[in-house]
């Protein structure tokens, strides 16, 4: 009977994990036309306190109240969501990385859509497929094969944790 730690409620966990720091974008150049999006090109990096995206081109749409939608294209584009240490009853979360030809992150709903030869890792687990949705706020992953494709997932056994007393 291993006493699994009581889990933090999902909304509270999502709120705690949501990237909120100032968002900094660096690039070689920016182009902005009236009624158009702000387009960053050349060695583009978007970073906030826990989330980093990079690629060749970024289309950034500001949604008001500090929210934004970022569409990054690259060969490939990358995402890194840093892990979190254990705190109180909440266990540690390993970092999540993602890569694909296109990454779209919406800070409002906290979802990152990775498409185009998509690959996501969470710690040592790995998922590949045509399209992968990563809920950044809740650290949950959904994957779809795309037209006839397949999703491949490799989950590393969690054999490093010390076996609780009495469990096989």
């Amino acid at each position: 009977q291993d006493a699994s730690p009581t889990r933090e409620s999902r909304p509270r966990a999502a709120e705690r994990l949501r990237p909120v720091g100032p968002v900094t974008v660096t690039a070689t150049s920016v182009d902005w036309a009236k009624n158009g999006m702000m387009i960053y090109t050349g060695d583009v990096k978007l970073s906030s306190d826990t989330l980093n995206l990079d690629g060749d081109r970024l289309e950034l749409e500001q949604l008001g109240d500090g929210e934004y939608r970022a569409r990054i294209i690259g060969k490939p584009a990358h995402l890194l969501h840093s892990g979190t240490p254990a705190s109180g009853e909440t266990p540690a979360d390993p970092p999540v990385t993602a890569r694909g030809r296109t990454l779209v992150f919406d800070s409002k709903n906290g979802i990152a859509d990775i498409s185009g030869d998509a690959r996501v890792t969470r710690g040592e687990d790995e998922i590949t497929g045509e399209t992968i949705h990563y809920n950044v706020n809740e650290r949950r992953i959904q994957a779809a094969g795309g037209s006839g494709g397949q999703v491949r997932i490799v989950i590393q056994p969690n054999n490093r944790a010390a076996p609780a007393a009495g469990t096989p």
Partner: protein, 189 residues
């Protein structure tokens, strides 16, 4: 012969000199000595408290400007002190530019504002924006504000810097060029 004429000559010169002195005093015209660097040409026109409007071939206003002083030279170059310019934009607040110095190269229509130059206007989405740069070109022929001297910008939801800037006030585009760094104000937790 010469000795006898001399007193007569003096009596003639005295009223003439008095007249000239009076003339300058009464008309209050104090001809200011124009500071001219050694070897530099003197300005053809030297104006104080200047206001002017530049229009294009169709009569469309390109900008209005003011300066504490404007010196114009024969080679069509110019120098300004305390230059302020207003560049209109369709459907948006004008670009308001100001700088302690300005100049126009010979035979050219664009104006170089020399810093620190302050630019007040708005981003393409309308958000108010202030920029500062050491130097800025104002080119009415291409409707372009541009610099490669580095620019800092600040507005409510975003601020940052870049090596260069191009802002087309007719197309209403803004390009930031080289080492762009933009910081967005974080969402309220």
């Amino acid at each position: 012969m010469f000795a006898r004429i001399k007193p007569w000559l003096i009596w003639l010169m005295l009223p003439l000199m008095a007249g000239v002195w009076l003339l300058f005093q009464s008309r209050g015209m104090q001809p200011e000595p124009v500071p001219v660097a050694d070897g530099a040409a003197a300005p053809r026109y030297s104006l104080r408290g200047v206001k002017w409007t530049r229009v294009d071939a169709t009569g469309q206003r390109e900008f209005t400007a003011e300066a504490d002083s404007a010196d114009y030279y024969d080679d069509e170059s110019a120098r300004y002190e305390q230059l302020r310019m207003n560049v209109p934009r369709a459907g948006q607040a004008p670009w308001r530019l100001s700088s302690p110095k300005g100049s126009a190269p010979a035979h050219e229509k664009r104006i170089s504002m020399e810093g620190p130059v302050e630019v007040v206007g708005s981003w393409p989405d309308g958000e108010a924006l202030t920029m500062t740069t050491p130097q800025l070109w104002v080119d009415p022929a291409r409707h372009l504000l541009s610099t490669e001297a580095g620019v800092q910008f600040d507005s409510a939801s975003r601020s940052g810097q870049a090596k260069g800037l191009k802002a087309d006030w007719e197309q209403q585009t803004v390009q930031l060029l080289g080492n762009v760094r933009m910081q967005y104000v974080p969402r309220k937790p």
